[in-house]
């Protein structure tokens, strides 16, 4: 067979220009969002849905020009990607994040009628989109600059504190802030309840999960039964499981007075905790089991050959090597529990979910936000914190 059949072909092509396409696209998306989507909305009270306003109405032409300029600067910097430009972009992103509450302040000053005490300013789709895309930019920059997890987390924490200050001092027209001020005490209580529920459920399932995983390593039959059962449990939707637990617990509370005295009732903490623990067990047991099993047999054999006793092998070799994967299990479990606890509010367990479902019930969207945003932030913080811990404990540093 001759090679001539393979003729002819297109000639070599080399791209002379390598912009960072990702950041270029993201900058363009932000510019488009800022101009096309609603910037803020203004409502006369908390139930009526607001009137939307565009960027020019909200912060006038100079403001709009400044915003556009910043996005265009980002696009320009990303078309010649050097690490200096990346750092400059990081600066611009922080600047935009810091400017965001001021935009709301300006808009509130111009658009909200001061004679209406109930009038409030809602955050528009453009704001959320830009915020989300900025976070994407941060992720991309972190990867390109090879920064550790801590840097952006610290920056965001700083930005968060600045926002909090602005909100507390000048943004009393913002609907979210008004909702918060109306139920400040309740809010802190809900955060406390949420954390307590998640903490208890995760704490119990860590202990139970590790015990179960150890037992499963010893008894193979138990392993099959337990995994089948736990997989089955996970398939049942949380809402259904919460609901299903109501009946038997209510029956127990009614018929076994000592349990009722302990606080067990059909509604509230008891069914929520039981369901949360049941859901948390599978990821916990699975990761613990896999973590302990995954430790290389050769390493363990070497430990044995060096003369380490069973206990020494477990605590000095198997356990430390398994720890990062085990912590990964705790992370998954905790993040999942934070979300599930929100659903538990439906059966009266309290926590931040209360605001979500009350807000949905009253069609007060700002109240929904008051519940959903902290849940999101809580999940992100726990995820980042436990992820960083697992990285730190991994022998030899990050992967």
């Amino acid at each position: 067979m001759s090679l001539i059949d393979a003729l002819p072909s297109p000639s070599f092509k080399r791209r002379p220009w390598h912009p960072n396409v990702v950041l270029l696209c993201l900058s363009g998306a932000m510019l488009a969002a800022a101009w096309l989507l609603s910037f803020v909305s203004v409502a006369p009270n908390r139930i009526v849905s607001g009137t939307a306003f565009g960027m020019v109405d909200a912060i006038s032409w100079p403001g709009a020009a400044l915003v556009s300029l910043l996005f265009i600067a980002m696009a320009a910097l990303s078309s010649v990607p050097t690490s200096r430009h990346y750092r400059a972009m990081l600066g611009i992103i922080i600047l935009i994040l810091l400017l965001m509450p001021f935009g709301l302040m300006v808009a509130g000053h111009w658009l909200v009628d001061p004679s209406l005490p109930q009038a409030r300013l809602g955050i528009g789709a453009a704001y959320w989109t830009v915020l989300f895309v900025l976070l994407l930019c941060l992720v991309e920059l972190r990867l390109r600059l090879g920064l550790s997890r801590w840097w952006p987390t610290l920056l965001l924490a700083g930005v968060g504190i600045a926002w909090w200050g602005c909100a507390a001092l000048w943004l009393d027209r913002l609907a979210l802030v008004q909702e918060f001020q109306a139920r400040e005490g309740q809010f802190y209580q809900a955060v406390g309840q949420h954390i307590a529920l998640v903490g208890t459920a995760v704490g119990v399932s860590v202990v139970l999960g590790m015990l179960l995983a150890m037992l499963m390593r010893r008894y193979q039959r138990l392993q099959k039964i337990a995994f089948t059962l736990l997989n089955f449990l996970q398939t049942i939707p949380s809402l259904a499981l919460f609901g299903l637990l109501l009946a038997p617990l209510a029956w127990l509370a009614a018929n076994v007075p000592p349990l009722a005295a302990l606080g067990v009732s059909g509604i509230g903490n008891a069914p929520a905790l039981i369901a949360l623990i049941a859901y948390s067990l599978l990821p916990m047991v699975r990761n613990t089991y896999i973590a302990l099993e995954e430790v290389s047999a050769e390493t363990l054999q070497a430990a044995k050959a060096m003369g380490m006793r069973t206990g020494q092998r477990f605590w000095q070799v198997r356990f430390p090597l398994a720890l990062p994967v085990l912590l990964e299990g705790v992370r998954i479990t905790a993040v999942q529990a934070i979300g599930l606890t929100a659903v538990a509010a439906l059966i009266g367990a309290g926590g931040l979910g209360t605001f979500i479902f009350q807000g949905l019930g009253q069609a007060a969207m700002d109240m929904v936000l008051l519940g959903a945003l902290p849940i999101l932030i809580l999940a992100l913080i726990v995820d980042a914190g436990l992820g960083a811990l697992a990285d730190a404990l991994r022998p030899g540093g990050q992967e």
Binding site: N20, V21, V22, A125, L136, V139, E140, L143, Q223, K224, F227, T228, N231, F232, Q234, T235, I236, P237, S238, L239, A240, L241, G243, L244, L246, A247, A250, G266, Y279, P283, R286, Y289, I290, I332, V335, Q336, I338, G339, L340, A342, V343, L346, I347, G353, I356, F357, G359, L360, G361, A363, M365, V368, L369, G371, A372, I375, L376, A379, L380, D383
Partner: protein
């Protein structure tokens, strides 16, 4: 509700046969048709309630809406998720790979309730926000597993395929996708089972489905309603999950074909 992280293989239960999903589906059908016949049972649970069998809508209607919402979301998410996963693993889209990979793992930390709650202010009440929330949330496991599946294909096999003169489309179609299929399917399974559960929450935002009896039961303190909704959703989730399980095992078997 984060389920099987698909890249980790588990010591699995003995292979589940095809009749298991059929049993679940049969049970589901029996419950849909025969719920009123169980009135005595529910009366025992709620002796004082005026009404013990949920009758504001027929169960088959609720089930139909539930399945419809989940299917619409699933079709869109599979199409978009797999396409996105493929796009960023191609030569041209590779710039986006790190970002999308990070996003897919970050997205797992967003609780579905929060996603649903955030969709309502933008989209209003009704069926639309629940479909959108399901799509957003269901997208991530599929993208993540598509990425993992394609990236896990042995690089030397891809290179061999290329060296034999396969075009990049042929490498994708005949090598990468078949080898990644079990992992992608695991993502679809996770996505769909999570969505069956999350769709129930749609009842709180005015979408009528199997979550309705549960919410109504909780609001009115009628445990019988809760039981009916919970039972049906659980059966639906188990039917879907076990059906996927059978399909997944078939795929695995075909791949290792021993």
């Amino acid at each position: 509700m984060t389920r099987n992280s698909a890249t980790v293989s588990l010591p699995n239960a003995p292979s589940i046969q095809w009749f298991l999903p059929l049993i679940w589906i049969a049970l589901l059908a029996m419950c849909i048709v025969g719920m009123p016949l169980l009135e005595g049972l529910f009366r025992w649970v709620e002796p004082d309630a005026r009404q013990v069998v949920y009758d504001r809508a027929a169960f088959y209607e609720l089930l139909g809406r539930h399945v419809l919402v989940v299917s619409v979301a699933a079709v869109v998410t599979i199409a978009v998720g797999v396409a996105a996963g493929i796009a960023v693993t191609r030569e041209r889209g590779r710039d986006f790979l790190p970002l999308v990979g990070q996003l897919a793992s970050l997205g797992q930390t967003f609780p579905p309730v929060a996603v649903l709650a955030l969709a309502v202010p933008v989209l209003g009440f009704g069926t639309l926000p629940i479909i959108v929330a399901l799509m957003l949330y269901g997208l991530l496991p599929i993208v993540r597993n598509t990425l993992a599946g394609i990236n896990d294909v042995d690089a030397t096999i891809k290179e061999a395929a290329q060296a034999m003169g396969m075009t990049s489309w042929q490498v994708l179609r005949h090598v990468e996708l078949p080898l990644a299929a079990p992992v992608i399917l695991a993502g679809v399974r996770t996505s769909v089972t999570i969505n069956i559960a999350t769709a129930a929450l749609g009842a709180t935002v005015g979408a009528s489905n199997l979550g309705d009896p549960i919410i109504a039961g909780i609001v009115n303190g009628n445990m019988a309603y809760v039981l009916q909704g919970a039972l049906l959703i659980a059966l639906l989730a188990l039917s879907a999950d076990s059906a996927f399980n059978v399909y997944q095992q078939r795929l695995r078997q075909r791949l290792s074909a021993s």
